[in-house]
């Protein structure tokens, strides 16, 4: 991750494709996971990832971003695209905040039905974990995944969701408690 800032800077200065490739290789799996745990759909996640990077490619050189603000910017694009997609498919016109919190394409039943599919991708324990995650709100799930899967700090997560550092900490600890209880059942 330390080199991401260097890649961004070099790409902004030179426009050389090799730097964009390095940025892509570093960030693309993270954005993919962000979509995948929301949609549990490989194809849709890949489509959305492509759309995010089309926008990043077209705008990155016009920005003045450092490593952290780049992450915030990219995840905001990802979030907005997901909301657009969600609204388009469901006809939902709720405000952005509540849409973010209610995007729950999957539920516990979904995991039970598709457990064999997920077993191929994760261990059995992970399938349990995914089912427990689906009990959280959309925001709680996003924040937890960014913190513990993507290893992001509180400030970056706070930037992505436009919330204070303290709010994000509160969400994380509450969500962890729910998750622990769900997994212990």
């Amino acid at each position: 991750m330390k080199s991401l800032g260097k890649y961004i800077n070099s790409y902004r200065k030179s426009g050389d494709r090799k730097w964009f490739t390095l940025i892509y290789q570093e960030i693309m799996p993270r954005i993919y996971r962000f979509y995948y745990f929301k949609t549990m759909d490989r194809e849709l996640s890949e489509d959305l990832v492509s759309e995010v990077f089309i926008r990043v490619y077209r705008n990155l050189r016009k920005t003045n971003l450092n490593e952290r603000s780049f992450m915030v910017w990219t995840y905001r694009i990802a979030n907005n695209l997901l909301i657009d997609n969600f609204r388009k498919n469901t006809g939902n016109t709720e405000p952005l905040e509540s849409v973010l919190d209610h995007i729950k394409i999957t539920d516990e039943e979904f995991f039970k039905k598709n457990s064999s599919l997920f077993r191929k991708e994760f261990s059995f324990k992970n399938t349990e974990l995914l089912a427990a995650l689906s009990r959280l709100t959309g925001l709680q799930k996003d924040v937890l995944l960014l913190r513990f899967v993507e290893d992001m700090d509180y400030n970056t997560i706070a930037g992505i969701f436009n919330k204070s550092n303290g709010t994000i900490r509160g969400i994380i600890f509450r969500a962890m408690e729910i998750l622990r209880k769900e997994m212990g059942r």
Binding site: M28, F53, V149, R169
Partner: protein, 264 residues
């Protein structure tokens, strides 16, 4: 989870980042052993989700497609780029540039006006600015250079009077009268600073005489009428008579000098 537990877990996070193990943390905060253990076990299981990655085909071939699609698209609107956390350009450079621009505009417009005022004659809007600038120059010039400046101002006054006399405007009489007083004052100042010598004295006096004579010819009748009307008010007339007397003195001194030169 209470506040104290949250603080302990935060401390554990810091210790782990520094390279200590979870066991070290469990040992250090024995009272919270169970909470810490539960928390980090859950965190560890969440961390296993990192194994989720896109398909090999997508990872290898998607970038070419993304770039080609990005190049084909028209202008995208609605995405505002998020700028750096420390927007140096916005906070420092932009106000500095604006200040510099305003400063330069002010300086250029003032110097432009000042430059334009140098060609003005009495009665014009920019003339007071020209005179103020002359006074300013007089104040800042060192004493040994003031002689040249006084001489320059005297010549300027004479040319201004010439310009006014050439104009066919009867309202200029008062202006000319004031200007002739100024010319006399300037002549005296020049004398004080020794900027008048045998080489330029005759030329200057000729020019001053010529201005006064032309003024008399052009406005002589008008001023006499004015004098009659303002019998009690002597200020302008006295000034003018004084000037004539002064000119007379100057002429006689010139004649004397001419005589002495011829004797030599």
């Amino acid at each position: 989870m209470n506040k104290r537990t949250i603080k302990v877990i935060d401390k554990c996070h810091i210790l782990i980042k520094k390279g200590y193990s979870i066991d070290h943390c469990l040992e250090k905060f024995r009272d919270y052993r169970q909470e810490i253990k539960d928390y980090f076990t859950t965190a560890e299981s969440l961390n296993t989700l990192r194994a989720v990655r896109p398909g090999k085909n997508f990872s290898e071939n998607s970038l070419d497609l993304i770039i080609s699609r990005a190049k084909k698209r028209g202008k995208i609107t609605g995405i505002k780029p998020v700028h750096s956390a420390v927007p140096v350009r916005r906070l420092v450079l932009r106000p500095a540039m604006i200040f510099l621009l305003i400063f330069m505009l002010t300086v250029f417009s003032f110097s432009g006006t000042l430059f334009a005022s140098q060609e003005s004659i009495p009665g014009e809007a920019l003339y007071p600015l020209k005179r103020s600038f002359e006074n300013f120059r007089l104040n800042i010039y060192p004493e040994n250079l003031k002689d040249g400046l006084h001489l320059q101002f005297l010549n300027t006054r004479i040319s201004e009077a010439d310009a006014l006399l050439e104009e066919e405007n009867n309202d200029d009489a008062i202006l000319l009268e004031e200007l002739i007083i100024d010319i006399d004052k300037q002549y005296q100042a020049c004398k004080q600073y020794n900027c008048i010598n045998s080489g330029n004295e005759n030329i200057l006096l000729d020019s001053i005489d010529s201005v006064k004579n032309r003024y008399q010819k052009k406005y002589g009748n008008n001023t006499q009428n004015k004098d009659q009307n303002k019998s009690g008010q002597e200020q302008d007339l006295n000034g003018h008579n004084g000037m004539e007397q002064e000119t007379g003195k100057q002429n006689s001194s010139r004649q004397n000098k001419g005589g002495s030169n011829s004797h030599q």
